[in-house]
């Protein structure tokens, strides 16, 4: 399997080349195009999992803001290629997992190899107050994990402490600790600094941030538009 990302960072597209028999699992609706050697199968869970477990996984994904169903694309008869894109403007990046785990902000998942298990995970009340959804995605296993951002993606090596606005988090290593708190030293910064809640990461590991905040974008546009009818 080979994954290339084109048109970064504004309108990134992931092009996945599969050898015969190889599989890529993608978020529902993410497929842009594919050649004739690719077949699609739609399900809620991984192959070989029971129906109930699959259903639970689908429901949990839906609570996390992802699609209930996922699509498995398999190259049959020969190698093939399939392309995927996220819904909004922004970037896409690939991370090779090797018996490792990354946490993803709930809408960041685009596609992954079959050896990566993506499950919704309760993030605790603290992420709820961060305004970015109650649930995060936990991606673990071995293989490529492809995720997307709103705006461009920047990778940061954390060694010690690092503070990120909750709306700008894309993904982070499992071994980073985090706590959600208010911005700045005092209540004045919190109330008037315009930053709301921030996430304080600590430890040693990698962190990916996005250069735009989708909630702020929605509020900016939404405030200028008539109500939904």
């Amino acid at each position: 399997m080979n994954i290339e990302i084109h048109h970064r960072p504004s309108y990134a597209l992931a092009e996945v080349s599969l050898d015969e028999g190889e599989v890529i699992v993608a978020e529902g609706g993410a497929m842009v195009s594919m050649d004739s050697h690719i077949t699609i199968e739609t399900s809620t869970g991984s192959k070989g999992e029971g129906a109930l477990k699959g259903l639970m996984k689908g429901l949990k994904r839906m609570v996390a803001g992802e699609s209930f169903f996922q699509n498995r694309f398999t190259a049959v008869g020969a190698g093939g290629h399939v392309t995927f894109a996220p819904v909004h403007q922004g970037d896409v990046t690939v991370e090779e997992l090797s018996q490792s785990t990354l946490f993803l902000q709930s809408t960041a998942f685009l596609c992954s190899g079959p050896g990566v298990d993506v499950d919704a995970k309760w993030g605790g009340a603290k992420t709820f107050f961060g305004g970015e959804g109650l649930v995060m995605l936990r991606a673990s296993g071995t293989g490529p994990l492809v995720f997307n951002s709103f705006g461009a993606i920047k990778e940061i090596e954390v060694d010690g402490e690092f503070v990120v606005d909750t709306g700008h988090i894309v993904a982070f290593d499992e071994n980073l600790n985090f706590s959600v708190g208010r911005f700045g030293g005092g209540w004045k910064s919190f109330l008037f600094g315009g930053e709301g809640l921030v996430c304080r990461f600590s430890g040693k590991g990698r962190l990916w941030i996005q250069t735009r905040n989708p909630v702020e974008f929605g509020q900016l546009l939404g405030g200028k538009l008539p109500p939904r009818s």
Binding site: H6, H7, S10, Y11, A12, L13, G28, G29, M31, V32, S33, M34, D35, S36, I38, T39, I40, E41, T42, S67, F68, F69, N71, T83, A85, V87, H88, Q89, P214, V215, F217, G218, Q219, L221, G222, G223, L225, P227, R228
Partner: protein
């Protein structure tokens, strides 16, 4: 005439350099800026042969394009009255612009992806077939033929794919394709996949030629924005 595309792929804009007497035709509303010695003529977005009958034909085809292909009723013709003039055109959506040269071949364009062309390009409305009525993108396309310059635009970046055999593209991601390719509207995978996968309808291309696709889908983007609006 020389056409350059700047600010790719996020905010593509075509800069059309015109010599004395040259003309460029663009969708109404597409003009960003232009130099002073250019005459603008606004006419119905259709082709008539002159006279009252010709005017009526032009008006009717313009109306057909507006209502069936979602295009504007009028187009603007930019005629250079001296040398070294330029007109800049851009689409309303964020995304890319691509300049293609036609040399007797045909390129069919998804109607919202047409930005402009030179006079010797024939642009005609073509019926995509009954099955296209089921796609959100509309049942009509613009078939561009002749010898001349064509400028198209996309939502997101434009990806060029060389098809040899068959190739499938989500209908919301199709920008344009070369005339030699055949296509059929279909569904992605089995019926279960069509109903549940979120992939919707696809166009199955076959033959040999180039397909241009866009890396974002306007329908999906609107679906993402809608829940963020105030209630």
């Amino acid at each position: 005439m020389r056409i350059e595309v700047e600010a790719r792929p996020s905010y593509g804009m075509a800069v059309v350099h015109l010599e004395d007497g040259e003309t460029f035709i663009a969708e109404s509303g597409a003009m960003v800026a232009m130099s002073p010695a250019i005459d603008v003529a606004t006419r119905f977005n259709g082709t008539g042969t002159g006279g009252v009958a010709g005017w009526v034909v032009a008006a009717l085809t313009g109306l057909a394009r507006k209502f069936f292909a979602g295009e504007s009723l009028f187009v603007n013709e930019y005629l250079a009255k001296s040398g070294s003039q330029q007109v800049m055109v851009a689409p309303p959506l964020v995304g890319d612009v691509e300049h293609l040269s036609l040399e007797g071949n045909n390129i069919t364009v998804q109607s919202t992806s047409y930005l402009g062309s030179t006079k010797n390009v024939n642009v005609s409305l073509v019926w995509g077939g009954f099955s296209m009525l089921f796609s959100k993108e509309g049942a009509f396309f613009l078939k561009c033929g002749g010898n001349g310059e064509l400028v198209i635009n996309s939502f997101g970046a434009i990806e060029k794919v060389t098809v040899d055999g068959s190739y499938t593209v989500d209908t919301g991601h199709v920008v344009a394709w070369e005339g030699d390719l055949n296509y059929q509207l279909g569904r992605a995978g089995s019926w279960k996949s069509t109903m549940l996968s979120g992939e919707g309808l696809v166009m199955n291309f076959s033959g040999q030629g180039t397909v241009w696709l866009q890396t974002r889908n306007l329908g999906s983007m609107l679906g993402w924005i809608r829940p963020q609006l105030p209630t």
